[in-house]
């Protein structure tokens, strides 16, 4: 049995220790916000936070995560939308939307480490998150809008 905290709840799973967190979340716990896109950390669709840091859940082995804290999009704004989610809605970022939960989790982490990110910061950090529909301009605008909002608060 491996025990992790997911979105504030303790969850126990009995799986192979080398199973990636992504597949524990999706197929064992039914938490489908983190998406399977590539399986090799090339697309970022599976991005979650592990102990407050953005991580590709397809690369995190569940056996290494005993006792760790996992945050997925489902736990990001359980009662009210996170500022980044609000900005995503305001800028109408998604097209197909499949990458967006990962984009948002990455953007939240970016703003936690760089509250006022430059264009270069955004490009550098967000270039690991692939969007096949091509919503990059709206992602960029939403991140800067969220940063401004967070600055106000």
């Amino acid at each position: 049995m491996i025990e992790v905290t997911v979105n504030g709840q303790t969850r126990r799973v009995d799986v192979a220790p080398d199973m990636p967190l992504l597949w524990v979340l999706r197929d064992e716990l039914g938490i489908t916000g983190p998406k399977y896109g590539c399986g090799i950390a090339q697309c970022g669709a599976c991005t979650v936070h592990i102990d407050g840091r953005a991580a590709r859940s397809c690369q995190a082995r569940i056996g290494d995560l005993n006792g760790r804290n996992i945050l997925t999009i489902e736990g990001l704004g359980p009662r009210s939308l996170h500022v980044v989610q609000q900005a995503w809605i305001e800028h109408q970022v998604p097209q197909c939307g499949y990458c967006q939960t990962g984009q948002i989790m990455q953007a939240v982490a970016l703003l936690e480490s760089h509250p006022q990110p430059s264009e270069e910061d955004v490009a550098r950090v967000m270039s690991g998150n692939l969007c096949r529909c091509g919503t990059y301009l709206r992602i960029r605008a939403a991140i800067h809008a969220a940063a401004a909002k967070l600055q106000e608060n």
């Binding site: 192979a16 199973m19 998406k35 669709a45 489902e74 995503w88 998604p94 097209q95 529909c133 091509g134």
Partner: protein
């Protein structure tokens, strides 16, 4: 649909279908219709687009939503006429229904250029429309959704509105003419409001009012106004479930591996190690490969990787990429001519004795690879099949699934799902066949199959490979002759073949974006050649035009340069319509085309007409100190007749440009030993954020009402190549451009 399928309803439970914005509605309607149940006493199915119960108003939006916003746009058109506000209704994809026929596809099916309005061409279009209507052909593609829905879906909404008024009139005795509607309610002259839901039972008992009038655009509340796309919130919270996120009670997980030499069989395999791996339930052969059933997708994928496979050699096409190119090059011959699509003036005479400018262009195979990998859930029972996945051709899904098991197509109940992108990928059936084949060996158990990204790449039928050999003559600063020869695989023909059908006549996609150039050039010939015996191919966002636009516009740029003309002004002077001139003038103004340009910078223009939408794009690039090229900015002008949702319009145009640029810069698929060598995104990246320029978009509401999903793609590659030429003097005649220049 079959009566007994109502039995499936009771035994299948879809876990987690959501009631959030844009939520999916499963089952009851499909099954009620399937069982031949007419509107019950409290259920008003006014028409195939509108269902009202005492609790809920559901608008059915049958066009697949692959990220283009089809659900929101369709709902908007219905809601406009119904006087519904966003938030007052749910949406559902609806069952397979011939009423959802898409005759806006007709223009893409007939062997006539889009610019051809001769009686023969118009007759062929009318015949194609009739055929589609008679067959009830339901399909999403060819950027035809808006064209298909624009009038008919509003009529459906108006019918519902007038029927609800008639029901209210019957109940209250107030003449229908004295009633009005607003915000989901019928309003009596005294101001009393009857919510539509309260009229459901009454509306169910009266015939739908058919003679309705559509609102004038000046009265519109929703169409053309910036609105919140209905699916945005669910996609931002993660509540919206894509096909891959769905779960059915008792479901098992599976993955597959098929021969990477497409179409060739699995000769033998050794699964002894895989069978003993954790979580594995079953390993079974399927067509061309093997499936692993397990308790978790990852267990299935691990086990599939642990099997030893002996794949047969490629039999349908040559194993090496160089042989594919050789086959294309060998297709420029009389017996391979698909059609001479345009032959104005006397090209041979104009070329003879003149100084001929000639250039050869190439477009490689590229992959679709939407971010949601292929997947499907299937449960097979003796009495029928139930399927959950996203697909652009529901009717074909029924046929394909039924053919696997021996059921009849009408015994297949298909629940379309939100798609994590498509770009043409969800017009194929590998996931459907695999899911049904597996589920057929374990009847009664729902099976969810998920392709690994690697498998998705290896089984992806790519965009057509193609080459152009163009010739032209300029004299007295004018283009006097152009002779386009384009050899390419027919993606559509290849698709037909896989569906067991045969394409008849030449492929209109072979001419799209080149034969229909809206230019008057006195001697203009365009010949398309069919390339056979190479990789099977499939429709890729903008289909034929995705390569043809590059072949045609780049060469026009070369000729205008040779003629000593300004690229933009030169194109304007070639235009044969005021609309085409308007678009070019608009993009010239937006980009300040004649304005000053810094050192090491260049601007390129491209203009392509595809799927009935002419689009002009200007790109500005800079050359960095190390020689790397940076795309600084893009300007786009497009004419679509009517913009239904301006925010989504801009998003789609930007996305189309990014799609076109990213692949032109960075992507190709190459075959070696019969399989493609690229199997994940690091080898086929498209565009990432660091390369993404600002993209300014303007719509011209002129010309026919058309969709914008594909048309912004074709001009992107030539506009970039032309800009690089302007900045560096170097012509790029082959994609991907990164083989020749570095992008920073």
């Amino acid at each position: 649909m079959v009566g007994s399928s109502s039995g499936l309803d009771r035994r299948s439970f879809l876990i987690g279908s959501i009631a959030a914005a844009g939520g999916v509605v499963f089952g009851p309607y499909a099954f009620a219709r399937a069982a031949g149940i007419q509107s019950g006493d409290a259920l008003a199915s006014i028409n195939p687009w509108v269902r009202i119960t005492p609790q809920t108003i559901t608008l059915f939006t049958p066009h697949a939503d692959v990220g283009q916003g089809a659900v929101a746009a369709q709902a908007l058109l219905i809601a406009e006429e119904m006087d519904l506000e966003p938030g007052q209704f749910e949406t559902g994809f609806g069952p397979r229904n011939p009423a959802y026929y898409n005759d806006a596809l007709a223009d893409e099916l007939v062997p006539f250029l889009s610019i051809d309005h001769t009686p023969a061409a118009e007759e062929a279009r009318a015949a194609a429309r009739k055929m589609i209507k008679d067959n009830g052909t339901q399909m999403t593609g060819g950027s035809s959704t808006i064209a298909n829905c624009y009038t008919r879906w509003r009529q459906a909404g108006a019918t519902a509105r007038e029927t609800l008024k008639a029901a209210a009139s019957k109940r209250t005795g107030v003449p229908a003419a004295a009633l009005r509607t607003a915000s989901g309610a019928v309003i009596l002259p005294n101001g009393r409001k009857i919510p539509y839901q309260d009229l459901a039972a009454d509306a169910a008992t009266i015939p739908a009012v058919q003679d309705v009038e559509l609102r004038a655009p000046s009265q519109w509340r929703l169409i053309g106004k910036p609105t919140q796309r209905l699916d945005i919130k669910g996609k931002v919270t993660g509540e919206l479930r894509f096909g891959i996120d769905q779960a059915v009670l008792g479901m098992v997980h599976a993955t597959i591996k098929m021969n990477p030499r497409k179409g060739a069989p699995l000769e033998s395999f050794d699964a002894s190690k895989a069978e003993r791996m954790r979580g594995v339930r079953k390993i079974l052969p399927i067509t061309h490969g093997l499936a692993v059933v397990a308790s978790n997708t990852w267990y299935a994928m691990q086990a599939a990787n642990a099997v030893e496979y002996h794949w047969a050699a490629a039999s349908d096409y040559p194993p090496e990429q160089a042989q594919h190119w050789a086959a294309v090059a060998a297709s420029f011959r009389p017996q391979s001519v698909d059609k001479v699509w345009r032959n104005d003036g006397d090209v041979e005479a104009a070329l003879s004795g003149a100084q001929v400018i000639a250039a050869e262009y190439r477009a490689p195979y590229v992959a679709h690879q939407p971010l949601e990998p292929l997947n499907a859930i299937a449960v097979v029972r003796d009495e029928g099949i139930e399927l959950w996945t996203s697909h652009q051709m529901p009717e074909a899904v029924q046929g394909i699934a039924a053919a696997v098991t021996g059921h009849r197509p009408e015994q297949v109940v298909f629940h379309n799902q939100w798609a994590g992108g498509s770009f043409g990928h969800r017009l194929e059936f590998e996931n459907i066949r695999a899911a049904v084949e597996i589920a057929n060996t374990m009847r009664g158990t729902p099976v969810k199959v998920v392709f690994s990204r690697e498998e998705d790449f290896l089984q992806d039928f790519p965009r057509q490979i193609g080459m152009a050999r163009n010739r032209g003559v300029v004299r007295d600063r004018r283009i006097v002759a152009v002779d386009f020869h384009v050899a390419a695989v027919s993606a559509v023909g290849s698709q037909y073949k896989r569906m067991g059908a045969k394409a008849t006549g030449p492929d209109p996609q072979g001419a799209l974006g080149v034969g229909n150039l809206p230019y008057d050039i006195p001697n203009f010939r365009m010949t398309a050649y069919s390339v056979e015996g190479v990789s099977p191919c499939s429709s890729w966002r903008s289909v034929g035009a995705s390569s043809n636009g590059f072949f045609a516009d780049s060469f026009i740029d070369e000729l205008l340069h040779a003629a000593g003309r300004d690229p933009l002004q030169g194109r304007i002077e070639l235009c044969n319509s005021q609309l085409a001139r308007n678009i070019l003038q608009t993009v010239a103004e937006m980009s300040d085309w004649n304005g000053p340009l810094g050192n090491g910078r260049g601007r390129g223009i491209a203009f392509v007409d595809a799927f009935g939408v002419p689009v002009a794009e200007v790109i500005e690039v800079s050359v960095k100190s190390g020689g790397g090229i940076r795309i600084e900015k893009v300007w786009v002008a497009a004419a679509v007749g009517r913009v239904v949702d301006p925010v989504n319009f801009e998003n789609l145009v930007q996305g189309g440009v990014i799609w076109g640029l990213g692949h032109a810069m960075n992507c190709e698929l190459t075959y070696a030993d019969g399989a493609v060598q690229q199997s994940n995104y690091h080898q086929h990246e498209g565009m990432r954020m660091f390369q993404c320029p600002p993209i300014e978009v303007r719509a011209l509401e002129q010309g026919p009402v058309r969709g914008i999903g594909e048309p912004p793609v074709p001009p992107a590659a030539p506009a970039l190549a032309n800009a690089i030429f302007a900045a560096t003097g170097r012509r790029l005649r082959e994609m991907p451009f990164k083989k020749f220049v570095d992008f920073v």
